[in-house]
Amino acid sequence: MPAPQNLESAATRFRWATALIAICACLPAAVSVPQFHDAAPQAKFAYVTHNGYTARKYFIQPMCGGIAILDYDNDGKQDIFFTNGADLPSLKKSSPAYDNCLLHNRGDGTFEDRTEAAGLLGRDLGYSFGVAAGDYDNDGHTDLFICNAGPNTLYHNNGNGTFTDVTEQSGLGAKPPNTLSTGAAWFDYDNDGLLDLLVSNYTVWTPETDIRCQDSGVDKYCSPTQYRSVANRLYHNLGRGRFEDVTAKSGFGSARGKGMGISVADFDGDGFQDVFIANDTERNFLFMNQGDGTFKEVGLLYGVAYNDDGIAVSGMGSDAKDFNNDGTVDIFYNDLAEQIFGLFVNEGRKSFRYSSVTAGLSQISRRYSGWSAGFIDYDNDGWKDIYSANGDVDYLGVNARQHDTMFKNEGGRTFRDVSANMGAAFLPLGFHRGSAFADLNNDGAMDIVITALNERPRILMNAATSGHHWLLLDLVGSRSNRDAIGASVKVTTPSGRTLFNHVSVSTGFMSSSDKRVHFGLAQEKSAKSIEIHWPSGLTQTLANVRADQILRIPEPTK
């Protein structure tokens, strides 16, 4: 067993807080502690998610505000990166208001704008959408890939607090002209220890070809069906900072859609990472990795292409996690109001069962238009809940501005809307878009970062009021990719409860989350065993690990 590196155990402080809450609860005038409070107002930064909105509505404006969580300076605290829009129709970041933004986590609940010092203002990038954080060259420093309306961008982390644009030499800037790239995911599809890159593409678009749609003389955003579908792109990491576009030969080129959220996981348990892509108004894709460098699109055959009525919805953000702790990875996507968020239960790694209705999502999600989303065990009870960043596409209609939602997982079977209990900072109405999860203060409770169109982002710190125990596993690959993306983890508690999770940073829409693997342990104070299946094929088992710590686990050399 490797020596646990306890980066910052907040257990003592946490127990005090819990005790205090318990005492307060007995007092007649007790004030309940909100689940989340917003740390953004205490941080000095100028970033606002500017989508370039003017009276003229351009098709791309609703998709703005990507987020990446990464520890860019390896100080043990997760930092935050935001992408931004640009002026329209010029597609230029014509003023500092359109700068991207890097917030350094100072560890005391405050954040400091380090964008310019890091070289990440991105003024030459144009209109940016999603972002993916990953250490593509295994040098121990997390790099950034940014999706743009124009050429995409790869920033190499120099390891000294700065980044360098290496797009040209990497080969990642190449894509069909005017392809709108919305999101990206780092993953190692051939288990060669190097992170490859998948980019979800939406359509072909320029300001000049933008279709103007109106209703009674008022501009409105056009239906996606008016734009043509395109293929997503897969880039194989050749090493030494070079990538090869393998879209055609991998099989990704044969499926055309309007790519939004990307979720990577080993759905069939064959040791190779598969890919789910939520598509807007078209069938969703499930690319099963054939283990030979190719993928087969089997969304329809596996039962995830459509909803239960055989209808393609406006798939937006997605996540793939084992929400019912049965050892297989399930799929969630959100969509627009009246469409019902989609939940697909993995059945024996051979098919998926549409479960939105039986899980109760049909009632509680119907009113919401979701964008980024994901599974998050916000109360550390060992059941992954569902968060969704909400807000309608357009500014029209009475239900256009919406609050985010938290659906609590009730024993891996059903979900209950607990949004109202999450605190005032969780509930403002707006057009929320990107979201990413991280333990920003290393207290074992997952926090949430959210962007909203033409507003400052929120940094929602989790008050960790449940008193439940937890583990945060920071896996470091050696034979596997250094980020350990694709490693799966099974935790068995002393009571015999089994919990499952895996390393995956691509969550929701346009966003990239904390790569550390989080487990809520409820009342249990330790893990009887932790079983890790590394992408290299190695299996590692740790025994009797105490709870409430951040455990750094290097991959064994043998």
Binding site: S223, P224, T225, T281, E282, R283, V298, L300, L301, Y302, G303, A305, Y306, D308, D309, G310, I311, A312, V313, S314, D335, L336, E338, Q339, E347, K350, S351, R353, V357, T358, G360, S362, Q363, R366, R367
Partner: protein, 308 residues
């Protein structure tokens, strides 16, 4: 969504007693001779009788005749002429609202006309029901539910009218996220439907969809079984049965019911597509790759239904 029609023929028996030409026209319509009625009514409207207060009725009858003979534009023009002469006529407003609604369910003028007709003639269940339908199809579920509620309370409704009103009220209440009230209304509709001859499986299917959407699967299955007992060829109920078997991992039975759905009656394009989607998945589970891929090809070659 159900769009149903209450009998327009009610106007044929309306008081006051008409003059001779009007009586003739009514009789011609009763005999199905709309061409003759059009001539009679056109002549009447060009006569001096135009100034009589009850003369809104000829416009209405003429419009009905035009509509029945496929001349929708002329029907609409006739009603507009009538409203010019009799701007306060709720019957003309209602009829024009109905026609515009059928022509384009999202037409805002149709909604305005029906709202006005309801305001002027609050005791007219037909106007309320049409206004409710327009509201339902235009995301005004509050209006829909309240109009049907008011209509149901009016005297003299037959079972067919009540069936349609309760069903639509239930659908709108469900959209308003009032499940208890919605269920109550749909239950009433279903109860009436069970007494009706002939039984209307489409109305009962609305109840199934509500129950499924609310996760009341067992109850839904019972209603599906009842529908299939009374209407064994009703495709949508077979599809629901197929979905239930699919959820229960009874793959063979799911395939059997999906096939029955495709052979049945009453399926719309979306249901047919859903049946093929379900077949593809279940054949694949059984390892019947060729059948699965054939179903997949069918789905891919038929333009996908989507909710933009």
């Amino acid at each position: 969504m159900i769009v149903c029609t209450l009998p327009l023929l009610v106007i044929l028996s309306q008081a006051p007693s008409p003059p001779g030409a009007l009586s003739t026209a009514r009789e011609q319509i009763r005999q199905g001779n709309c061409a003759a009625a059009i001539d009679t009514l056109t002549l009447l409207l060009h006569s001096s009788a135009k100034s009589r207060p009850e003369v809104a009725v000829p416009y209405q009858l003429l419009a009905v005749c035009y509509e029945r003979s496929g001349q929708l534009d002329r029907a609409i023009d006739t009603l507009r002429d009538g409203l010019r002469d009799h701007p306060a006529s709720p019957a003309l407003e209602r009829t024009l609202g109905e026609l515009l609604f059928h022509q384009d369910p999202s037409n805002p003028e149709a909604g305005q006309l029906l709202a006005s007709a309801v305001k002027t003639a609050p005791q007219d269940p037909e106007a309320r029901h049409y206004y409710a339908q327009w509201a339902a199809l235009n995301n005004r579920d509050e209006i829909c539910a309240s109009q049907e509620q008011a209509a149901i309370r009016l005297p003299g409704l037959n079972n067919l009218a009540l069936l349609q009103m309760y069903a639509l009220q239930g659908i709108c209440l469900n959209h308003l996220d009032k499940p208890a009230a919605a269920k109550s209304a749909l239950e009433k509709a279903f109860a009436i439907d069970l007494r009706q001859k002939p039984f209307d499986p489409a109305i009962a299917y609305q109840y199934v969809q509500f129950l499924m959407g609310r996760g009341q699967n067992e109850e839904a299955r019972e209603v599906v079984a009842e529908i299939l007992r009374r209407s064994p060829q009703f495709g949508p109920a077979h599809l629901e049965a197929a979905k239930s078997f699919d959820h229960d991992r009874q793959t063979e039975k799911a395939i059997q019911e999906a096939k029955a759905a495709l052979l049945g009656e009453g399926d719309d394009d979306a249901n047919i597509r859903a049946a093929h989607v379900l077949l593809a998945k279940n054949y694949f589970i059984l390892g019947k790759t060729a059948e699965a891929e054939a179903e997949q090809q069918w789905v891919e070659s038929h333009a996908g239904a989507s909710k933009p």
